[in-house]
């Protein structure tokens, strides 16, 4: 599904990723853990194609297609989706308009007819209900005045509406209370299937308890230092990161 080779990325001339090698096959859920500043969010932005992040070396392949130089929207249309840690607020654009425009962009790319308003409302309302969000959420402007929890749920709503092939969840658990965490985790579990793959970026083990990833990686100073199973996440929860820095 996604194959990253020797990825080196800098921002404002500062090297952040110093050679990432990562492969996530179809149907698997991987987690990346790491301290603040270790490069986790940089990896998410580089995969999404954010032009602020300069790829100095290496490659990203999605289903054997090199996407390293691909435009942001074409990456999205080829099935990449990022749940952002700090999604921007866009006053004046309703969630309904935004979601429908996004879905129809994918439909157009796939050669399908536009989704009509009724079908869209039925689909989105079902997901809103699962995320404990009111239907009126669709009328609100994108992330404008949203609470921390609403922002995360909005990202999961988009994830479930667009149903991408590969999803990255960038600290989707941060700032959530236990109920919201469970709701978000349920949403992610609903998304995960044998046909897609997921990368969860997090500091803590608590979200992983609900999602149970196949592989856990630890990132240290722009590189993947160690990989293992869920027991690695538990070990980090117990011992912290300092033992991995040596």
């Amino acid at each position: 599904m996604i194959k990253i080779k020797n990825l080196q990325v800098s921002i404002d001339e500062k090297d952040i990723l110093k050679g990432i090698d990562l492969e996530i096959p179809k149907g698997e859920v991987h987690a990346i853990m790491g301290r603040n500043g270790s490069g986790k969010s940089t990896l998410a932005n580089a995969i999404a194609g954010n032009e602020k992040y300069e790829v100095k070396n290496g490659s990203i392949h999605m289903n054997n297609i090199d996407i390293t130089e691909m435009s942001v929207e074409n990456r999205a249309l080829s099935g990449i989706f990022v749940c952002f840690q700090y999604p921007v607020a866009i006053p004046g654009v309703s969630m309904a308009y935004f979601l429908r425009a996004s879905i129809n962009a994918h439909f157009e790319h796939q050669g399908k007819e536009e989704m009509d308003a009724v079908e869209f409302l039925n689909k989105s309302k079902k997901i809103l209900n699962e995320l404990n969000l009111d239907d009126s959420f669709l009328k609100r402007s994108i992330n404008d005045g949203f609470s921390g929890g609403e922002k995360k749920k909005s990202e999961i709503l988009q994830l479930l509406c667009l149903n991408p092939k590969f999803a990255i969840l960038d600290e989707t658990d941060s700032g959530l209370d236990i109920d919201a965490l469970k709701t978000v985790a349920n949403g992610v579990n609903k998304f995960n299937s044998k046909d897609n793959s997921t990368l969860i970026i997090t500091h803590y083990e608590r979200l992983l308890q609900y999602i149970n990833p196949d592989v856990v990686h630890v990132m240290v100073d722009g590189k993947i230092k160690k990989s293992g199973d869920m027991s690695l996440a538990k070990e980090i929860e117990k011992k912290g990161y300092s033992w991995l820095l040596k």
């Binding site: 954010n50 032009e51 435009s71 942001v72 929207e73 990022v82 004046g92 996004s102």
Partner: protein
């Protein structure tokens, strides 16, 4: 009136055409306005049947009121109407002191012959909007057309006026002086849609006087104006007055739009809100000169002033000058101004959901404009702004 006109002409002669040294004209050039000749009002050279057929519209051709338009005017028995030039009552005629120092305002007073004074009768019901259509024919090419209209709302009148120009691409200098007297408990919705096919020059002096608990909403949408300088002054003279000014300007090429707004809070418990948004392409310029003055004793004033400029070109220029002068203690006043290009992070976010960059850009421009459009008090201007915005972005 002759005495007033003579006085105004002497003031104009003394002041001359405004120079850029004046605060109100710092960013607007008046030199090109010198070359226009005062129009001689004779028979119009245009077929106005189509405009006379519009329901509830008062038509002006080349600034001159067309009496026949009253035939289709449903409120003709609920108004009194006459020529401004024949008004004797100085209280009715009195304009803002602030305008008295404006040389071109004085030129307008000195040279106007056309314009009407309408008084809406007490107890009248005016549920349907009143359209004012200003049509200009070929004779207005290179002409200076001053018009002075006065509208008096009596107690509890609720009036909606939608003003629109039909210029047909002529190069003229249209100077419009408007006065609105809003008596106690009245509501005025004044909507101005400026569209002059990028050749004419518009200069407006709009003066609004509020009574006790009166509400004054001024909405304007401007597009395709080569030069449009619009002065708005609202005097909140009695307690409980409210005014809201919403403006959207779309400019491109070498167009120049200047909004000069003064709100005088002269009494307590009054509120005022200004929301002026400019979207600029190419080498166009926009100016916002906004001032709120809260007089001593105007306690419990609630005022907010916002100007936002979206620059879609590196060559476009926006000048923003929001000002507050407060001489009372117990007030709530805020103001803010932003100028910048589209937010790259927002474009990126939309792109990450599969939306093409061009579409993402258009969504964000529409969203910026929508923040004013949704505040407009009437559907005519809302629909026109929404419909035109798409064309403007692609044109």
């Amino acid at each position: 009136m002759d005495q007033t006109k003579n006085h105004s002409y002497n003031v104009f002669k003394k002041l001359g055409y405004p120079s850029k040294k004046l605060e109100n004209w710092k960013f607007s050039n008046s030199n090109h306005l010198k070359s226009y000749n005062v129009i001689n009002q004779d028979q119009p050279d245009i077929d106005i049947k189509q405009y006379l057929a519009i329901e509830n519209a008062l038509c002006f051709v080349n600034g001159k009121f067309v009496k026949e338009s009253l035939n289709n005017f449903i409120y003709k028995n609920q108004i009194s109407i006459g020529k401004t030039i024949e008004v004797k009552d100085n209280k009715i005629l009195k304009m803002s002191n602030n305008f008295q120092g404006e040389s071109l305002f004085n030129l307008g007073i000195a040279k106007f012959n056309e314009g009407i004074f309408i008084e809406f009768k007490k107890g009248g019901k005016f549920d349907t909007e009143i359209k004012i259509i200003n049509v200009y024919d070929k004779k207005t090419e290179n002409m200076f057309i001053p018009v002075f209209n006065i509208f008096k709302l009596n107690k509890k009148n609720n009036i909606s006026i939608v003003e629109k120009n039909v210029n047909n691409g002529l190069d003229s200098f249209n100077l419009k002086i408007n006065k609105f007297i809003c008596s106690d408990d009245s509501t005025l919705n004044h909507t101005i849609i400026f569209n002059d096919n990028t050749k004419s020059n518009l200069l407006g002096y709009n003066y609004y006087e509020s009574g006790l608990n009166s509400i004054i909403n001024v909405d304007s949408f401007n597009y395709e104006s080569l030069f449009n300088k619009n002065f708005i002054q609202v005097d909140l003279n009695q307690a409980g007055g409210e005014t809201t000014i919403n403006t959207l300007n779309l400019t491109k090429n070498n167009e120049h739009v200047d909004n000069n707004i003064l709100i005088n809070h002269n009494s307590e418990h009054c509120t005022s809100f200004q929301n002026v948004r400019n979207i600029l392409q190419n080498k166009s310029t926009c100016v916002f000169n906004g001032k709120v003055i809260v007089a001593a004793g105007a306690h419990k004033t609630d005022s907010n002033q916002s100007n936002k400029n979206l620059l879609l070109s590196k060559e476009a220029t926006a000048y923003s000058n929001p000002q507050l002068e407060i001489y009372a203690d117990d007030v709530k006043c805020g103001h803010g101004s932003t100028t910048g290009a589209l937010d790259k992070d927002s474009i990126f976010y939309l792109q990450t959901r599969g939306i093409r960059k061009e579409q993402a850009t258009q969504i964000l421009i529409k969203a910026f404009a929508h923040e004013v459009i949704k505040q407009f008090s009437n559907d005519t201007i809302k629909n026109e702004a929404q419909a035109y915005l798409g064309k403007w972005m692609n044109g």
